[in-house]
Amino acid sequence: MADVCHEPGPSGRGHRPEARRVALAGNPNVGKSSLFNRLTGSHQHVGNWPGKTVERHWGTCRAGAVPLTLVDLPGTYSLASSSPEEVVAEQVLCSDDVDAVAVVLDSTNLERNLYLAAQVAELGRPLVLVLNMTDVAEADGFRIDGAALGEAFSAPVVRTTGRSGAGVDELIAVLGVLGRTEPEGPTVGPDTRAPGTPLSIDYGEPLESEIAALEDRLARLLPTHHAAPRWLAVQLLEADPVTIDDVMNVEGGAAVVADAARAAQRVLDATGEEPALLVADRRFAWANGLARASVERRTTLRSRTERLDDVLTNRWLGLPIFLALMWLVFGLVTHVAGPFVDWIDGVVNGPVAALAEAGLAAVGLGGTWFEALVVDGVIGGVGSVLVFVPVLAVLYLALGVLEDSGYMARAAFLLDRVMRPIGLTGKSFLPLLLGFGCNVPGVYATRVLDRRRDRIITALLVPFVSCAARLPVYVLLAAVFFPGSQGTVVFSLYVASIVATLLIGGLLDRFVLRGERTDSFILELPPYRRPSAAVLWAYVAQRVRSFLARAGTVIFACALAVWFLLAIPVGGDGSFGQTDMDDSLFAATAEVVAPVLAPAGLDSWQVAGTFVSGFVAKEVMVSTMEQAYGGEATDTEVEEEPAPVDELVDSGEGLLEAIADAARAVPGIVGLDVGGADADEDVDIAAAMRADLEATSDGHATAAAVAFLALVLLYVPCMATVAAIRHELGGRWAAISIVLNLTVAWLVAVALFQVGSTVGTG
């Protein structure tokens, strides 16, 4: 997913022979990616939340003269292949792509971490134990006997702090010689174990005799497999899919797999337990024993995490605090990003456009359609991409703080109950909530969900959440058709949005993605940590860059397409780039679409056109309505423009002002201001709209207006949201999202109009 700085690619087979390839394995959230970034200078996503690294990432560094290729594996609790991350981890650890493994451990939670370490050691590849989080362990009074651990694993032990980089040099030195068969390498730590003597845990009878029988056959069958035959035998008894695949792939493998299944059945019959559970129990007993023998905890002080949790997840205070924090995030996104958005908008459409115009005029292209294309089409299109940058940057910063501090997992804990009825977990609440500000970051926030099914459902639900850009449209329509009760109308629409989201969620959960439903929610609550500035910066920069590269291009293309529709005359006396809106291809296209809205009493090109342009950005719906009903030309005459240079100076001041505005906004955030939409609309436009809807609805304009509002609330997500869904889930789901919204919106609007026009007085 994320881009990697140095990317030698997964098949390092053709590399110079001396390159050492090392996999970083470990539980989620132990600091693997932090160490990987330290080692390779990359910027992999780091965050205090399990399940961030979902793909493997490659990077390089050097241990003296030895080039190292590192792979950052997704965090796993075991190698049982019961999740996609575990499959990836097991496949890499068994592949030709690595020579050795660094198992990263959270020093403050060794008992659980040693369970995975034991599995890796049983697998039998050369290994180093990396005791990370040394700083926290020391602060919390842990004392860890590294020599005892090293002896139990016959592996070197290195202590590191991923945050500060302490111990990383030593780790590099160890990695340079890890698993080397050549005797001349410097010996570091008590690594006397030659590759090929894996860890062996006693699993007791009747497992041991079954293991022994399978082990011999596997050794003969797969002489070059990288994993130890004993480990393969255990995995087969546990019915591990990756191992079964590996064994099935060789001649005679099928018979061994079948025999292993029979052996597993015999164990089940004899003990009443699945071999997988017997193995897990024994392995845990081993890890526990080792943890007890090697870890001493001197203090029994309540940790900072426990004290913070007493407040932040308190039965009574937890939810109010969560809501207050969300209010803060909302406020930051709207009030702090807002001035920068205006500034970017001003610069792009002001001095940059003016400079381009001046330049084109100098070469004799002033006033031509080409000028319009460059200024309105290209520069305007770039602007419509760039205005998202401040919003996303502020949002990601806020999300980064919530995530890296460990709060995000608490929010999921507090809100899980709310999401349970629609088959989601507490983690889905945040993306939906963010959607009220803007759907785009809402879609991106689905990344924090660890199951693809949940990501899909949540991303499909985000467009049903009423984003801030729809508000001015509600206000305008309410002012025209329901004067005096705008407040009630707007409030009802927000309630409708929540109801629609929950209903659609229930439908998707029960009928569309039903098969993968699970009622289970088990989440690790990581310790609270102070967010690190470097991590936050990398997080924000990486995501904004990726937005520009992937979603930005789509948004730009759509903006350009709409410009062409508006520019091409199909009637009247305009020329290309200089035509009235009602004579443009845009109006003609809208005319074609309009009859679809007839059952909702809205068969007019002005209404259809509003929806077409609303696809580009909901923000432009109001101005389209004004143009369509006011009948002005799209290409408003360029006013007396000041010299471009002056304007650049102005925009410099504008930036300062934007910063000042942003700074001023911070204290005022709590009083979230939803106003800004001017209710004093031109009387002519209001009259024109009312007349239009009266005509299209056979005199039931009120019912048609209700249908109109429902459409604004529910119809297609804007193109930026579609681009975001495509970026996150692929084109297929983006298309499904559009169809889903259109269908729901149309059905609801038609139902409202039909009922309203028969029942109501019109």
Partner: protein, 77 residues
């Protein structure tokens, strides 16, 4: 008794997991295995998840999951 019905603040020993398949595996890997000593730390409001102390860490799980973990009072050590 099962974990869902335990009051916060007392050490408990896991006697048996009645969950099966993936869920049982996940619980085991996260440290909720037979013989483990755990403690309910708190409950989320309105019948939400339970926070459980396991080894050096904290785990959130739904009451539904917790019902499938059978525990007994654990005294000492």
């Amino acid at each position: 008794m099962d974990l869902a019905s335990c009051r916060p603040g007392r050490p408990l020993r896991v006697v048996e997991l009645t969950a099966d398949g993936r869920e049982r595996r996940r619980l085991t890997e996260l440290g909720v295995h037979r013989g483990a000593v755990v403690e309910v730390v708190r409950r989320a409001p309105f019948g939400g998840p339970i926070a459980l102390r396991v080894g050096g860490g904290l785990l959130a799980l739904r009451p539904g999951n917790a019902r499938r973990v059978i525990v007994e009072e654990h005294d000492g050590g």
